[in-house]
């Protein structure tokens, strides 16, 4: 039995008599991340210089009550860090005191926060059980509209398709709009694909000196400052690899600004900012900022290419989009790549070109799946790929859904047992059931001049095994080979030949048998 004593009640009461000390609350709980000076401990968002604690206090109260999750922009930097909710920890009085302290000390004397306001926000958001996102909060409690150095900004939109920067003087505008925000954005075109835009404005230069413009876009773009074309992005490519940083000397006053932009297809993004003699941080003239927002961050993040080096095959174990969570990637020296599913005991993805970009999982917390970095990903199969004797091993396959509330035990006939690397780092995967096992080796091999892979499967044990090589792709015999889907050609090079059906390719091996297959890309 618990024994709440009279003494306990008395002590608790006496504690709550004292006026809440906001500095004390801050220095006990908030300080661990935001720092004693409000500047943010390493890697965590500051309060000083941030718009978040300013303005309507409801925004801050909501964050403290329910926390904040996902990407957030603070004082010009992007973060992807969860703030844990404190609503269950702190009373209305303590939250009011802490926020009053924060607003007074770190937010340039923003007004005090009353416990009553906290109480009303708590009541109004009582149904909320998950942390807020920055987007939700800014929709409800926006920052004041940004004012930039672009004055009298006008955006002109043209419809059409171009493979180079058009001569805008010969085009007929489809739409002309004043952009009073001083911000350029492809969204102002109100079209997804097949348009061009030209923005013109006066750029207010605050003082003489050297300015650096950063510019990137998807797809084409050209930036003119003071009548000079200072940066150009050519061709169709995603954002990230073509970023320009250009210095230019400017004199105080208003100078002509012009930005030309062509969107062919796919994503549309413009990143444009500048820093000057007195500002070391970029001032943004575009809605997307370098490293701002999750999608833009993904696009603008400096890639960490993982690739075969000196003939040694690269590997990558992490969440790879298109296969299951127990993914093992291998990138071969001839520009072919595979992703093996440890859950399903087979290679599920093949692709060519770049192997993987490590930046997604190796910067910040690494949430989510990273797609292969190369092209033409072939999805060979989905689901468990091995049929052995009926005895299940009792292994459990996880439910793969994002929000599964129920999952069940699914006995499977075989388990992934690991892999061995040869001298060049090429993998041989091992799979075993109760009465059988097989190895599955992959090496880079050019077939008839085209980059490809050789796969050797060797069975052992007492019982035969059937392995799904492809499922859900059209299989057609042609010139002694099998065309598997639109990209892949599979050849039986020696040993047991696979069995082709309309949309399935399987291989059945008895103990001691083997098969060597050649994979090439069309």
């Amino acid at each position: 039995m618990r024994t709440p004593t009279l003494l306990a009640l008395l002590a608790a009461t006496s504690v709550s008599f004292a006026a809440e000390d906001g500095a004390q609350v801050y220095n006990t709980l908030c300080v661990a991340c935001h720092g004693p000076d409000g500047k943010g401990l390493n890697g965590l968002p500051p309060l000083v210089g941030s718009d978040w604690p300013k303005g309507p206090a409801e925004r801050s109260i909501k964050i403290v009550l329910n926390g904040l999750t996902g990407p957030v922009e603070v004082a010009g930097k992007s973060y992807n860090i969860d703030m844990p909710p404190q609503g269950a920890v702190l009373s209305d009085e303590k939250i009011a005191a802490a926020l009053t302290y924060v607003r007074k000390t770190f937010a340039g004397g923003a007004g005090a926060v009353t416990p009553d306001l906290v109480k009303s926000v708590r009541a109004a958001t009582a149904a909320r059980t998950t942390p807020w996102t920055a987007a939700e909060l800014l929709k409800a409690h926006p920052f004041p509209a940004p004012r930039t150095a672009l004055v009298n900004l006008v955006g002109t939109m043209y419809k059409g398709e171009w493979n180079e920067m058009p001569d805008f003087s010969k085009l007929k505008p489809a739409q002309i709009e004043d952009e009073n925000t001083g911000i350029v954005s492809p969204a102002q075109a109100s079209l997804k694909d097949g348009f061009a835009m030209v923005w013109e404005a006066k750029l207010q230069v605050p003082e003489d000196g050297k300015y650096t413009f950063v510019f990137d876009c998807d797809d084409f773009g050209a930036l003119y400052v003071n009548g000079e074309r200072i940066a150009e992005i050519k061709g169709i490519a995603p954002i990230g690899g073509r970023r320009k940083e250009v210095p230019i000397l400017l004199k105080k006053g208003a100078v002509p600004f012009r930005l030309e932009y062509v969107e062919v297809a796919g994503q549309e993004v413009i990143i444009l900012g500048y820093k000057g003699p007195k500002h070391n941080e970029y001032q943004w003239l575009s809605d997307t900022k370098l490293g701002g927002g999750a999608k833009a961050a993904a696009k603008a993040r400096t890639p960490i290419p993982i690739e075969a080096k000196d003939g040694y095959t690269a590997s990558y174990r992490n969440f790879i989009a298109g296969t299951s969570p127990r993914a093992l990637g291998f990138g071969f020296s001839n520009g072919t790549n595979l992703a093996y599913s440890g859950d399903n005991c087979t290679v599920e993805l093949l692709w060519t070109g770049k192997f993987m970009d490590g930046a997604h999982h190796w910067i910040d917390r690494g949430a989510g799946n990273e797609p292969p970095a190369g092209d033409g990903v072939v999805k060979l199969s989905d689901g468990f790929a091995v049929t052995g004797p009926s005895t299940p091993s009792g292994a459990i396959v996880a439910f793969q859904g994002a929000k599964a509330t129920e999952f069940k035990s699914v006995p499977v006939s075989a388990e992934f047992k690991g892999y061995q690397l040869d001298k060049a780092g090429n993998p041989t995967f091992k799979v075993a059931g109760e009465d059988f096992s097989f190895t599955d080796a992959w090496t880079p091999a050019d077939t008839r001049g085209a980059a490809g892979l050789a796969r050797k499967i060797v069975a052992s044990g007492d019982k035969p095994v059937t392995i799904v090589l492809a499922r859900g792709l059209a299989v057609a015999a042609k010139d002694g080979a099998l065309e598997v889907g639109p990209r892949l050609v599979v050849r039986s090079l020696s040993g047991v030949a696979p069995t082709a059906a309309a949309a399935e390719l399987t291989l059945t091996l008895k103990p001691g048998e083997s098969a060597v297959l050649g994979y090439s890309f069309r």
């Binding site: 003494l7 390493n42 269950a88 303590k94 599964a404 999952f407 040869d422």
Partner: protein, 501 residues
């Protein structure tokens, strides 16, 4: 009134000595940066240079024969360091043993292989051709669920006396159980069998064993955790968070407890005998914010006079805390004290070399920041031989606590009840995130009796509260040289009050 007189008298008698002490040393025990400055007298903390140009966010540390130390990183690399014990660390040599595994958290060396627990599986890495690089990667056990969520961390131990590795499996996103066995501790046998061992886990930061081989893990403040704490993984137990309970049905286990939210741990654990309460609560914001790795001192004095105490890493504050444990009525309980600070990043793995007395720690600031200013760190700490004046341990008695000190105490200050202050509190046990401190009480120290050797003080307390955290501040205690304590406070989790014999 009588007490007041006695105290006043004591003050008068002590006054001349007190002022002498004040000249020698300010009466207030050191805190913050002062404690850090003192640390250098007792412990030498050195950063070990990591491979140049490499991102080495240390996530696991293993000791190998020949004074080699292996580390794994969050990016999944495994490096072997030679020279980590040397005086001249500029000559350390690093060899890359493996690349790009899946966020390994827990690694040990055995039978010429490195074993590591990575997110999807427990794995053995072997270099069979002797070229210094792993070429065989045996999947020993991959039977727990993962679904692509970055928070589904898996922390593994060294093998226990049966050769089993204990793995604690964080909840999906630290809130949900979207895959089998999230929120459980499982044991992995050498043959790869998985034995679900305890339910009730939330978000672990590390796992380790005490000298008896009992296994403990740290769980972070959040849903059902009013504060972070050090918990004992008694097989068959429920650790307090019911989110992962549904996995029990997968193997036909009985349903783990469904505790009532808004209650107290003590109330609920009396209802559910399998509910093992936290051995030592690490009060949130006071002791730390995110506890991590666990190392036991079995160095026979090489690490200082802390035989069998646990040393617990702290990510946010870049610290190492010290914990003494005892068993009362079948449950572990004990006290936590601040200990080492000033590490260069948020600590995750801690590894004690039991032969040598060197503590290796590794840290990372990625994703979760810390007081340390560097993105990652690998450090070594050694005891310099000078024993700091500390509360060695706090032990529960039927009528109070016995505090053991590391130096003989000054009988006048240590025998004065005014040298101590005690308060107790607990947390709401609830499904919401964290909890305020509640049920505060202020027990009275009725007497303080110093042992003949001056090393122990028996505090008779009026108002011990079962189930609460007892925060003892021994501000006024001095050793015979007149020094104050290096760290003057400890937090004892009084799960059980021992019965009088």
């Amino acid at each position: 009134m009588k007490k007041f007189t006695v105290t006043l008298l004591a003050l008068l008698v002590l006054a001349p000595f007190a002022s002498a002490q004040a000249k020698k040393k300010a009466g207030k025990p050191p805190a913050g940066t002062e404690a850090l400055a003192l640390q250098d007298q007792y412990y030498e903390r050195v950063q070990i240079p990591t491979p140049p140009g490499e991102v080495v966010e240390v996530s696991s540390i293993a000791l190998m024969p020949g004074k080699k130390v292996a580390i794994a990183t969050r990016r999944g690399d495994v490096w072997v360091c030679e020279g980590a014990y040397e005086a001249d660390l500029s000559k350390v040599k690093w060899t890359k043993f493996a690349s790009n595994l899946h966020e390994p958290l827990g690694m040990f060396y055995k039978d010429k292989s490195l074993f590591l627990t990575q997110r999807p599986e427990h794995t053995r890495l072997t270099d069979t051709d002797g070229d210094g690089k792993a070429d065989v990667f045996d999947t020993i056990c991959a039977k727990w669920g993962i679904n692509g969520d970055y928070h589904e961390y898996a922390f593994g131990t060294d093998p226990d006396k049966d050769g089993n590795v204990w793995v604690v499996l964080c909840l999906t996103g630290s809130f949900h159980a979207y895959s089998p066995w999230r929120g459980w501790c499982v044991r992995v046998t050498p043959e790869g069998k998985m034995i679900p061992t305890t339910s009730g886990i939330r978000s672990p930061g590390g796992i380790g064993m005490n000298e008896k081989g009992d296994v403990f893990y740290t769980d972070n403040q959040g849903v059902w955790n009013g504060s972070s704490s050090l918990k004992w993984l008694r097989p068959g137990s429920f650790q307090g968070n019911p989110t992962g309970n549904k996995s029990a049905a997968l193997l036909g286990f009985p349903d783990p407890p469904e505790p009532k939210s808004g209650s107290r741990i003590l109330t609920e654990r009396i209802k559910f005998p399998e509910f093992v309460p936290p051995a030592v609560v690490l009060p949130h914001g006071k002791v730390g914010n995110s506890p991590s790795g666990i190392a036991c001192d079995m160095t026979k004095g090489k690490w200082g006079p802390w035989a069998h105490q646990l040393f617990v890493g702290e990510q946010t504050a870049s610290q190492v805390q010290r914990v003494n444990l005892e068993v009362v009525n079948g449950l572990y309980q004990g006290a936590v004290f601040h200990f080492l600070q000033g590490f260069e990043a948020g600590l995750v793995p801690v590894r004690m070399d039991q032969e040598d007395g060197t503590l290796f720690v590794g840290g990372t600031n990625r994703g979760w920041g810390s007081r340390g200013s560097q993105p990652f760190t690998f450090e070594r700490v050694r005891f310099k031989g000078k024993v700091p004046f500390e509360m060695h341990d706090i032990s529960a008695r039927p009528d109070g606590f016995e505090v053991t000190f590391t130096h003989p105490v000054d009988a006048a200050s240590a025998g004065d009840v005014a040298s101590y202050a005690l308060d107790t509190f607990t947390y709401i046990y609830q499904s919401a995130y964290g909890s305020p401190e509640v049920d505060q009480t202020k027990p009275t120290v009725k007497s303080a009796t110093v042992s003949a050797d001056g090393l122990k003080v028996k505090l008779v307390i009026d108002g011990l509260v079962r189930g609460q955290i007892h925060h003892l501040v021994a501000d006024g205690v001095r050793n015979k040289a007149g020094d104050a304590l290096w760290h003057n406070e400890g937090w004892y989790t009084l799960n059980e009050i021992p019965a009088a014999k």
